[in-house]
């Protein structure tokens, strides 16, 4: 039984569709993709066929128009089974949000239809070797040359890198202007001068590709600038405000999946002549896990609904809270799931060790837990200052 979050009929439909795909199509192959570290194209096709790729994209651009809440529900449901395969869809949302947020009508029409239909995946290119939490440390430049910008530099740790077709790339158009000198570009795979570097070998989310993006005198037309020149960092921040619930949903899904595995195992595993679920030591761990998962869900859904309502100018604090809480819960719950399964939990025969490995990334990417806390605290102070002015 899950709590009643007053999901609409269409929201329930999305959950049901995602669950069917997760259970019928993803579950039988999740070990394969984790082991082989291949990109899960056969499952991406299933997402596309079931109309899941565009749940958050407005209907006029071929999507299902169900906002961040729609994305959250689908990602959570998929990640209950596998948090890595689902990332092909979730990271596409991250790469698409800059177009939704800052794109003009022509750009939206040109790029969103294929993303909504699942024909193309997207990726978000902000991080560099020297620019992680501090995006202004980036070295990629985009120097104007007539109708074009010439991009040079290397992005790293780009999810869906190499497998996506559409990239939203951040580069310095005016290095002397610092935070106001960064712009955002749409760059398509195949553009001359745009190449892919090494694929990362990771602890978890192995079914997801993480690559370097290398720009060598890559000419991008000025029509591909998102928003205005110099607005890049603002677009990135607005994107992250909207995308953090996606990571939170990934974390929540992984945690919920691990909880199910732990309860199931505890009921069946017999030691000292009785199921281990009959021991209070185990029961209390399970009770904490379930309570944390439900609290995470309540906070995440509330944040997603707030973003979709569109009544607040900034939602940085709320989306950071959801991401911080869900990802930390995911780490705790998956660690406890491994604990309950004991030696079996540590074995690759059971899925919980993978869930624990996959969960860890959620406390790191799109801002570490510490960066989320900075964001939350900064907003607390700003809100308080505004009141006492």
């Amino acid at each position: 039984m899950v709590m009643n979050y007053m999901l609409s009929e269409e929201e329930q439909m999305m959950v049901e569709t995602a669950r069917n795909i997760a259970v019928e199509k993803m579950k039988p192959v999740r070990e394969h993709y984790d082991e082989k570290e291949e990109f899960p194209w056969e499952i991406v096709k299933e997402f596309a066929q079931a109309d899941l790729c565009g749940v958050y994209i407005p209907e006029e651009y071929g999507g299902f128009g169900k906002g961040i809440m729609g994305l959250v529900l689908v990602v959570e449901e998929l990640c209950k089974v596998d948090g890595a395969i689902a990332l092909s869809l979730a990271a596409t949302a991250l790469g698409t949000l800059p177009i939704l947020i800052a794109g003009n009508e022509d750009q939206k029409k040109k790029y969103l239809l294929d993303i909504a239909s699942g024909k193309k995946l997207a990726a978000f290119g902000l991080t560099e070797a020297s620019a992680g939490s501090d995006a202004t440390g980036m070295n990629t430049t985009a120097i104007k040359d007539g109708d074009y910008y010439v991009l040079n530099g290397t992005k790293c740790f780009i999810t869906n890198g190499g497998d996506a077709e559409t990239y939203t790339i951040f580069a310095k158009t005016n290095p002397s202007k610092g935070a106001r000198g960064i712009s955002c570009f749409i760059v398509e795979k195949g553009t001359p001068g745009f190449e892919f570097g090494k694929k990362e070998k990771k602890m978890g989310i192995k079914a997801s590709s993480t690559r370097e993006l290398i720009f060598k005198d890559c000419k991008v037309h000025k029509d591909n600038v998102l928003g205005k020149e110099g607005h890049g960092l603002m677009i990135a921040q607005a994107t992250l405000d909207n995308s953090r619930p996606g990571v939170a949903a990934q974390a929540l899904g992984i945690a919920a999946g691990a909880l199910d595995e732990a309860v199931d195992y505890a009921r069946k595993r017999v030691q000292f002549g009785q199921p281990i679920a009959s021991f209070q030591g185990i029961q209390h761990i399970l009770a904490d896990m379930a309570t944390e998962v439900e609290a995470a869900r309540a906070l995440l859904y509330a944040s997603a609904r707030m973003i979709d309502a569109g009544t607040s100018k900034r939602t940085s604090k709320e989306s950071a809270m959801a991401k911080l809480f869900c990802s930390e819960v995911a780490m705790k719950v998956t660690t406890n799931a491994v604990q309950i399964l004991g030696g079996y939990g540590y074995s690759r025969e059971y899925p919980v060790e993978k869930m624990m490995r996959d969960a860890k990334i959620t406390t790191l990417y799109e801002g570490t837990s510490q960066i989320q806390k900075n964001e939350i605290a900064l907003n607390l102070i700003k809100e308080s200052a505004a009141k006492t002015k």
């Binding site: 999305m14 569709t17 299933e46 066929q49 079931a50 109309d51 299902f64």
Partner: protein, 261 residues
């Protein structure tokens, strides 16, 4: 190319329970699903439509609640759905069911292929598909695992055999029953579910299909279920313990006492 897919709503066989007293299925709380073999039939119909155009019409005979199976068929890509429902159809065996479905299909114009699942997961007879073809006086191929070629007038298919397959050519229209090797059924899509929710399901009764009252339901069913029972539970065998030599002697004695040797 217009395609008719015949489907049946059956109890979910994954968690089926039998009442030990009556020997009948416990239907309370049991979820109804599309007969799993029929999912392959729907998928094959939708794939043909996507390749050649036309429409897929799903059809079922059943109680009013069988409408949910038809909506599921629409969610999976069928364009239209027809429910053949009438209390007069109750108690139909495979002959009466074949008659009823074939009579209803006669009201649908211009079809090239009728596709059925190989058999239903509840009755397991595999008779209704071929029965419909006989009554429509069209050819049929059962247990199809692949459609090789298809043109305006004919079709070439692979029929699954125990030790390989037969390659069979037939004129159209034809009825095919399909096995699970034929495809990998897609899951219902969001847009499909939205369409299914809004779809108007046509319902036809005995009169509207012009059925002969003597050939439908119990009246039209020469086979009747006389009794349903559970096979007796196997009891454990006799166990001989001790030294191998003594056991062997005991077994021989016991078998000769029984007159087996």
């Amino acid at each position: 190319m217009n395609i008719i897919v015949c489907i049946k709503q059956v109890p979910n066989t994954e968690n089926v329970q039998i009442d030990p007293q009556t020997g009948r299925l416990k239907r309370d709380g049991i979820e109804s699903i599309i007969n799993p073999y029929d999912e392959y039939a729907i998928e094959e119909g939708v794939k043909l439509k996507e390749k050649f155009g036309g429409k897929v019409t799903a059809i079922t005979m059943g109680p009013p609640q069988a409408e949910s199976a038809l909506r599921e068929a629409i969610a999976r890509g069928a364009d239209e759905a027809v429910l053949i429902s009438d209390t007069a159809f109750g108690g139909a065996d495979t002959l009466a069911t074949s008659y009823t479905l074939s009579t209803a299909i006669k009201t649908i114009e211009n079809y090239s292929i009728i596709i059925c699942g190989k058999q239903a997961a509840d009755g397991d007879t595999a008779q209704v598909g071929p029965g419909i073809a006989e009554m429509l006086n069209i050819p049929h191929v059962s247990c199809v695992k692949k459609i090789e070629v298809i043109d305006d007038v004919s079709i070439k298919v692979e029929r699954m055999m125990e030790d390989g397959y037969d390659l069979i050519e037939s004129f159209l229209p034809v009825l095919l029953t399909v096995v699970k090797e034929i495809n990998n059924p897609r899951m219902a899509s969001l847009k499909g579910k939205m369409l299914a929710k809004k779809a108007i399901i046509k319902s036809l009764d005995a009169i509207s299909i012009g059925a002969d009252i003597k050939k439908i339901g119990l009246n039209g069913s020469p086979t009747q279920i006389v009794n349903i029972f559970n096979p007796p539970q196997r009891t454990g065998g006799e166990k001989f313990v001790g030294q191998a030599k003594d056991i062997a002697a005991n077994i021989v004695k016991r078998l000769s006492d029984l007159g087996v040797i």
